[in-house]
């Protein structure tokens, strides 16, 4: 296991360097003047340009700039926003909120996909199964902001079950509506995965063995079938995490949740390029780490993966 962990961590390093280099190159290596982009339509005085040039090492060669930026990331120094706050500080304030939202929505998606996936698999080919597959297709197709507005309009404005926006207070209870939206936006793929992997498990010999030694359906399904069908779900959660991060940007913006996604959303709306880059870098770093974690977990769950060279 130790070798497996070490190998996975070593594999992550080039991906991390490549991804940050790519983002950095996109912003500072592309045609167009980043300083001009910083000021929008206004023409800054030459002294200001020179100062910014010096501060961001723009007079240095590209690779020096990048290494400096990379060193900053490793020191958790992610730069400052336009209003002068350090990005790290903003992250410290917003990250717990987004984490809460992510946990809630992954939980919702997980429960939905297991319950619907398992029942669909058992009722394969019935009207219920077809109905659930069509519903899943619709949730795969609906863009997250459309889903968010529908939920906001029908569940909050019309029915009054939830508050339309979250705002400053962000207790667990207030996050239900955005969490539901995010949960429903990712459950469909996981549900279909659960369904197909359960159908496969249901046809296995050991399921027949379990039945023939007298076990009840209530024991065979959860213990023998479902548990064995859950392993692919672990990788799927990692994929969901990427979707959730993009989804959080839009959803937190719409519901005014004071999280990382909202901070990114506001930065995009105000055209604060450096802040956008900082947050995107954070997203990528988190994504890489989650994937690493999931791979390690996967290796723990399934010994076959550990030993593949």
């Amino acid at each position: 296991m130790a070798t497996y962990i070490l190998r996975r961590i070593i594999q992550v390093i080039p991906v991390f360097i490549g991804a940050t280099l790519l983002i950095y190159f996109m912003v500072f290596g592309m045609p167009g003047d980043p300083i001009a982009a910083l000021f929008g339509d206004k023409q800054p005085p030459q002294a200001v340009i020179d100062q910014i040039r010096e501060r961001y090492l723009l007079d240095q060669p590209f690779i020096v700039q990048y290494l400096n930026y990379l060193a900053g990331i490793l020191r958790f120094d992610l730069g400052t926003t336009f209003t002068g706050q350090s990005v790290g500080e903003v992250l410290g304030r917003t990250f717990p909120v987004t984490l809460r939202l992510a946990v809630l929505s992954i939980l919702i998606a997980f429960v939905l996909s297991i319950v619907i996936g398992a029942t669909s698999a058992m009722l394969k080919g019935t009207v219920y199964d077809h109905f659930q597959l069509v519903v899943a297709l619709i949730f795969i197709a609906v863009p997250i902001f459309v889903l968010a507005f529908m939920a906001q309009y029908f569940l909050a404005v019309q029915l009054g079950w939830f508050k339309p926006t979250v705002g400053g207070q962000n207790n667990w209870g207030d996050l239900w509506l955005p969490a539901l939206v995010l949960g429903f936006s990712v459950y469909a793929a996981s549900m279909r995965l659960t369904r197909s992997s359960m159908i496969e498990s249901l046809g296995q010999d050991w399921v027949r063995t379990a039945y023939s030694k007298g076990l009840t359906r209530g024991r065979v399904i959860p213990v023998h079938v479902l548990r064995n069908s859950l392993i692919p779900m672990v990788t799927d959660t990692a994929t969901n995490f990427g979707i959730l991060m993009v989804g959080a940007t839009v959803t937190e913006g719409i519901f005014n949740v004071p999280g990382v996604g909202n901070a990114l959303y506001q930065a995009i709306l105000r055209h604060e390029t450096p802040t956008v880059v900082s947050f995107v870098t954070v997203f990528v770093v988190v994504y890489v780490l989650v994937n690493l974690l999931v791979d390690l977990l996967y290796g723990l769950l399934d010994p076959r993966i550990r030993y593949v060279k």
Partner: protein, 313 residues
């Protein structure tokens, strides 16, 4: 024993037996024919095909469906802000007083143009990267696969947000937007292509082609690629839906092209969600139906091309 003794040769009585006979009366069968036979019996397939066809027609000839211009002076009247339907304007007006129906119709062209170009770019890069990596293997495979990993790590909408924030407003056009989306969404196509080419290159006809003297590259292009394209076509069809969503998301966030776009209309209508929800509803519906049509088509195609998932129905 005389040397001129003729030896007896039995007359051939048996009819000529043809080995490997093909029964011509049997139905032809291959991957695509089987898929077609499966698909044409499914009503959902025909529904999604008709939907896609309608969307394409609307995108190509928007002027057939509306004569009202979607934007510009003389087209929008602030006095009609968020007004309801009236003769000639079946769906009412947006917050800025433009005709909702006309903006829906013209928005189709933008969505389809960006979506198709982005998908074409993403698929092309993915196919080239995946095929080269799998077919030549070795160092090239490691290199291209790691590059793919890097692009896979960055969610492509996030990457497109960065590109579109950086590109100055006057340089933004459909092609830049398509590159921003397609240039970062190819990694999954490349992975699928790589797996498929790895499978196909083991097959006998590839070895036959190489031993008959065709160059490696020609073998790849002429024999391997056509036989490895099925999963990519599925991914591209579903990817077209995702690219359309990506365009709408970017426009919604204000880093799209500006101008006519469903995403921009949704973004504009969100501020008056309580007073005039219909202005929000129509572009949302158009977007959802379009994406649903292409995703459904892709999913059915995947089902039909994969015997394993056919068995799970």
């Amino acid at each position: 024993m005389s040397s001129n003794a003729t030896h007896y040769v039995a007359p051939v009585k048996a009819e000529q037996v043809v080995v490997d006979a093909v029964r011509l009366d049997e139905k032809k069968s291959n991957l695509w024919l089987d898929a077609w036979r499966d698909l044409r019996r499914r009503p959902l397939f025909w529904i999604s095909v008709v939907m896609c066809a309608i969307i394409v027609v609307v995108a190509l000839w928007p002027s057939l469906f509306t004569s009202v211009p979607p934007q510009g002076s003389g087209a929008c009247f602030l006095s009609k802000s968020n007004a309801g339907p009236e003769p000639g304007h079946p769906l009412g007006f947006t917050r800025l007083g433009c005709d909702v129906w006309s903006r829906l119709v013209h928005g189709t062209s933008v969505s389809m143009a960006v979506g198709l170009m982005a998908t074409a770019i993403g698929t092309l890069i993915g196919v080239i990267m995946g095929a080269l990596a799998a077919f030549y293997g070795g160092f090239l495979d490691s290199l291209l696969s790691r590059v793919g990993d890097i692009f896979f790590t960055i969610p492509y909408i996030v990457a497109a947000i960065v590109v579109m924030t950086v590109v100055p407003r006057d340089l933004r056009n459909e092609l830049v937007l398509a590159f921003a989306i397609g240039g970062f969404s190819w990694a999954s196509t490349a992975r699928i292509m790589r797996a498929e080419v790895l499978r196909v290159k083991q097959l006998d006809f590839v070895m036959a082609s190489v031993s008959l003297g065709l160059s490696r590259f020609k073998t790849l292009v002429v024999h391997v690629l056509p036989n490895a394209l099925a999963p990519v076509i599925v991914v591209a069809t579903i990817g077209l839906g995702s690219a359309i969503v990506a365009e709408a998301t970017l426009s919604f966030l204000g880093v799209g092209l500006g101008g006519v776009s469903w995403g921009a209309d949704i973004s504009q209508a969100q501020t008056s969600i309580r007073t005039s929800p219909m202005a929000l509803f129509w572009p949302s519906l158009a977007l959802t139906v379009t994406v649903l049509a292409f995703v459904t088509l892709g999913e059915l195609l995947r089902d039909a091309l994969d015997p394993k998932s056919r068995a799970q129905r």
